[in-house]
Symmetry: C2
Subunit: 309 residues, 2 copies
């Protein structure tokens, strides 16, 4: 296995100004793995689902060539989330959270997953994230996501796991909460000083910032005209990032920029429809075409302005 993704597979009921989707496929590992599969051909998912998770839902993964041996099926019901976006697409109102089988999630890695080179730990309890890392024999690059709840309630565990990863994916509000800095750049610097190798600050519709010691890269998001449902955008971003990284095996700062571009483009597709509808209706041609459009949107001829000055 090249890339292993650990997180949630869930059902979501989502309301946005563009409509309502009832009990559709969701979850961090779902969005992330499907997105990564556009770049990496050897992806495995570790998650847990309930008895209500019918065969047809596994097809979403299998159709994209994703290995599902790591998706455990347990007695009980699948994790369910009900939420709503009103005018502000940057923040969801949660109406209902039923953890169900996800409550006692204890990631079970099939033995061949332990040899993976690339690992992405979606937002779960940092103690579980540590357990997973312990099982991987020779990880080459580990990405991790987290959220306010763990920052506030499991800070020590979170700090421990962060020492062992290569890149933290975190949104702008969360990194400010984590560091106590109201300025995003200072918050990023503080995270790096805490010993985290790299941080990817997610700014939603405004793009992302990558920071490591003494280096930074900033990029706007793709311009999307119709945002239907932003659910899973961050995980889709991480999936594109990790998938491109696994496909290239190049950890240079320059190539991480390409990972960000891939993540940005995948996320831009995801938000155009509910659930994984868009991600499962496009092919690599469309991804490639949008990467071109995106590069065109952000292209600067640096030579010229330097000569002018």
């Amino acid at each position: 296995m090249d890339l292993v993704i650990v997180g949630s597979v869930a059902f979501d009921s989502i309301k946005t100004p563009f409509g309502y989707a009832e009990r559709v496929l969701g979850g961090s590992a779902t969005y992330c793995s499907i997105s990564s599969s556009f770049f990496c051909k050897d992806v495995g998912v570790v998650a847990v689902v309930g008895e209500d998770f019918e065969e047809k839902y596994f097809r979403y993964f299998l159709d994209r060539g994703i290995d599902i041996k790591g998706i455990e099926r347990k007695k009980g019901k699948t994790f369910f989330w009900e939420g709503e976006y009103t005018t502000n697409f940057n923040e969801a109102l949660t109406h209902k959270t039923e953890l169900n089988v996800f409550k006692d999630f204890n990631p079970q890695l099939p033995s061949e997953y332990e040899n993976c080179k690339y690992l992405f730990l979606a937002n779960i309890d940092p103690d579980l994230q540590i357990k997973v890392i312990d099982k991987i024999k020779n990880p080459e690059f580990i990405g991790l996501d987290t959220m306010n709840f763990w920052i506030e309630n499991k800070r020590d565990s979170l700090l421990k796991v962060l020492e062992r990863i290569n890149i933290l994916f975190i949104n702008e509000g969360e990194i400010k909460l984590f560091t106590g800095e109201s300025n995003t750049v200072l918050a990023g610097k503080k995270i790096i000083e805490m010993g985290i190798e790299k941080v990817l600050i997610k700014r939603g519709e405004y793009g992302a910032i990558l920071m490591e010691k003494d280096r930074a890269f900033a990029i706007p998001a793709y311009l999307v005209e119709k945002v239907v449902d932003p659910t899973g955008a961050g995980d889709t971003f991480a999936g594109g990032f990790m998938g491109y990284l696994a496909a290239t095996g190049d950890f240079s700062f320059e190539n991480l920029k390409n990972c960000i571009i891939s993540g940005t483009v995948m996320a831009s597709f995801n938000i155009e429809d509910f659930s994984v509808k868009k991600l499962t209706s496009i092919g690599f041609n469309q991804v490639s075409e949008r990467i071109n459009n995106y590069l065109n949107l952000i292209k600067v001829d640096a030579e010229k302005i330097l000569k002018q000055n």
Copy 2:
């Protein structure tokens, strides 16, 4: 005269989390002209001040080689604004606005200004903006800024003046108000459909988007660690943009990107201190150095990702 800037010259009292500045030099034409002077050597300002505007304040302009024949001195007091930024640097709380001599501002252009090629109309009554345009003999490129108040109260006049300009500088909230579109990209498209040649959507700390028919360019802002006072950032941006444009005389889409980079870098300096303190303490070397840093921050090697795919 190459570049003429019409707007306000004012006194501001500003409180931010980093301190308080009392009755310091401000106003849209002040920020804009000083910023533009780093690129364009032939800049004139059209504004009005009161008897309390002492000689020493004119030095700020003269020291940067800016022509002040267009700054009328009238009986009464200079425009005064008192405001505060709390944790949100994106929006100011206004405590006091005393229009004073600015209330009856009727822009008086010295005759040599009428031959200017480049004109920037800062945020004033659109009827006055039209009057100024009528006086310019052969304008080659006109930029214009506006605000909520004119969008809501003088929409017809605003629409009239917008037909006659080349680029509208407008912030994200304003363009949504103007067009009734909650999506920024759609708002931009709608503005272009209304017959406005180009629009520059200002997103504050998140950068800017340039749109014209069938083309767009998006860019993040420079990463500033210590934002002391954001007052005048938009006008400083416009100044850098117009100054670079006037210096190069190149209206191509590619060169407008360089104008945006120049504006972005100038604005990043401006917000590092109160009033025009920072802008009047740096030289072109520092501007040039930061342009380099900024290009480095946003640099992407497009060739590589395309080959990979």
